[in-house]
């Protein structure tokens, strides 16, 4: 049953490029021939569906329906590989085994979930069902920034936790707490990813310093790039511009995920 790995992507603060990284990581792992699911549990501000070219009208049932018990996980999985559309990067995913499990972006449903709270066992059962129903190798979870209850649930159930941070002291401070929490919750594989590093810094040094600070591996240091900002949310950057420095470093992180036993 526990065949597939749950990989949570988290950041303490917003704006680290978490959703973009999650979508690109999932896509790279799917490109490597794995069966991959992406769950958007950032219920307060879901956005990853946009990166996969999905608009609200195309979305059917969402994770919210599942958490309310009004939909089965089967009904929610949206096969990205069958609906790649026109975007240049996305189109490379044609025929790949990648499913998106979106959250509802309808305000009323969001507030209802927040009011009711999410049960750990219900969420965990849902994730395990997702893995077994779709025979997944990896299930990526795009979490909400910060350490609220839903995020703690995601961390608690993860096999792999990737914490994304920018190389500044505010992010480092927040990350230190998340690292402590992840250890307290016995997450078996913890790795860090530094994003939006200014090119003027020595990336190798950043990696060494942060690894030493947290005693945890840094799977990649990715540059701040206006190219990514320009690409905005219309496409998967690492597939569209595979030779870009950001994309190369991101593939390194995907390799680190694939290397987890």
């Amino acid at each position: 049953m526990n065949k597939g790995k749950i990989v949570s992507i988290h950041s303490f603060r917003g704006g680290t490029g978490k959703s973009n990284t999650t979508a690109n990581l999932a896509a790279q792992v799917a490109m490597a021939g794995k069966r991959v699911g992406v769950v958007d549990t950032d219920i307060q501000s879901p956005g990853i569906h946009v990166l996969f070219g999905l608009d609200e009208n195309k979305m059917g049932k969402t994770m919210n329906d599942f958490l309310h018990g009004t939909a089965t996980i089967r009904e929610i999985g949206f096969p990205i590989g069958d609906h790649v559309g026109g975007a240049e990067g996305l189109s490379k995913l044609a025929g790949k085994n990648l499913w998106l499990f979106p959250s509802s972006i309808r305000g009323r449903e969001i507030s209802q979930i927040l009011r009711d709270g999410v049960d750990f066992n219900k969420l965990n059962e849902g994730l395990q069902t997702t893995i077994s129903e779709f025979d997944l190798d990896y299930l990526f979870i795009d979490t909400h920034p910060g350490l609220n209850e839903e995020t703690l649930l995601s961390i608690a159930t993860s096999d792999v936790l990737i914490i994304i941070l920018r190389p500044d002291n505010q992010d480092l401070q927040g990350t230190s707490v998340t690292v402590d929490i992840a250890r307290s919750l016995d997450v078996p594989n913890l790795m860090l990813m530094v994003n939006k590093a200014l090119p003027k810094y020595d990336f190798a040094e950043i990696k060494n310093e942060i690894e030493a600070k947290f005693n945890a591996p840094v799977a990649g240091v990715l540059p701040l790039s206006f190219d990514i900002a320009e690409n905005a949310s219309g496409d998967l950057f690492s597939l569209r511009y595979p030779d870009h420095q950001w994309s190369q470093a991101l593939r390194g992180v995907a390799q680190a995920v694939l290397a987890v036993e």
């Binding site: 049953m1 526990n2 750990f120 066992n121 965990n124 350490l147 209850e149 703690l152 649930l153 608690a156 159930t157 190389p167 002291n169 480092l172 401070q173 230190s176 707490v177 402590d180 929490i181 307290s184 919750l185 016995d186 078996p188 090119p199 003027k200 810094y201 020595d202 040094e205 950043i206 310093e209 942060i210 600070k213 190219d227």
Partner: protein, 263 residues
């Protein structure tokens, strides 16, 4: 200084030989402005040119002067200069046989944008605006050829601008590889497109300097210093883990992980 006498000898064997007729038409044909003209149009133009002779240091035109004629260098070299803010002479370009100077003055009313000084004995053919306009009135074919010449140059300039945009984007992306690949095209000494070449040379010098500066900066990378407030870290950790919710979660997670490892 210039004499204003006709440069063109209409009746062979009479008078002092100045410049051979064919030389003048050849010079006109070499210029970008007139190279599309038919032979008889060139002859009509050539008849209207006058000869200006200059010794080294003579000024052909001065920046700010009212300009009303075009000069075609027949013999010798001139320098095109301006002054910088300190009043020092700045050489913008040098022009030699076959090159034209001030041709815009035939069409617009603007003052001369630079000063032109002879670097040695120089013979230049002068075509004044009045004369030129007279020809344009009489010969539509000349008008068309001149317009065609201008549009060709405009197109050429546009091409260069497009390439410059492409290169600028490459520089912005930190890709300087085009410098090595593109170098040969700006070394074509015999090209008619001196201004474009000048611009490109300046551009390439700029790119090399930017690259040098960037390489220099890379060597002295700024060092980041990371600080974690350990007291705050502990406080925040305890705030989160001190709740009943967390205690339950930790217990549930523990059970879950035990189950997973058993499977």
């Amino acid at each position: 200084m210039g004499s204003g006498e006709s440069a063109y000898e209409t009746v062979s064997g009479t008078g002092r030989r100045k410049i051979m007729n064919e030389d003048i038409t050849r010079r006109l044909k070499e210029s970008t402005m007139f190279n599309g003209l038919s032979d008889d149009a060139l002859i009509a133009l050539a008849e209207k040119t006058s000869l200006r002779k200059l010794a080294m240091g003579d000024v052909l035109m001065r920046k700010g002067d009212f300009g009303d004629s075009l000069f075609l260098i027949h013999e010798g070299w001139v320098k095109i200069v301006t002054t910088n803010s300190d009043g020092d002479e700045l050489i913008l370009n040098k022009c030699g046989p076959g090159e034209s100077i001030g041709e815009m003055a035939l069409l617009d009313q603007d003052p001369r944008s630079a000063t032109v000084i002879a670097l040695e004995d120089v013979e230049a053919l002068e075509l004044s605006r009045d004369v030129f306009e007279e020809i344009l009135d009489q010969r539509p074919d000349v008008s068309f050829a001149v317009i065609r010449g201008y549009s060709r140059r405009l197109r050429f300039a546009t091409n260069y601008i497009e390439r410059a945009i492409d290169w600028t984007q490459k520089i912005a992306a930190g890709d300087y590889s085009f410098i090595d690949q593109t170098q040969p095209i700006i070394d074509q000494k015999n090209s008619n497109d001196n201004k474009a070449i000048q611009l490109l040379s300046a551009f390439f010098i700029m790119v090399r300097k930017v690259k040098e500066r960037e390489d220099g900066l890379k060597k002295q990378l700024e060092k980041l210093t990371f600080e974690i407030d350990q007291v705050r870290r502990k406080q925040e950790f305890e705030e989160i883990t001190g709740t009943e919710f967390y205690a339950n979660l930790k217990e549930q997670a523990k059970t879950l992980r035990q189950k997973r490892t058993q499977q």
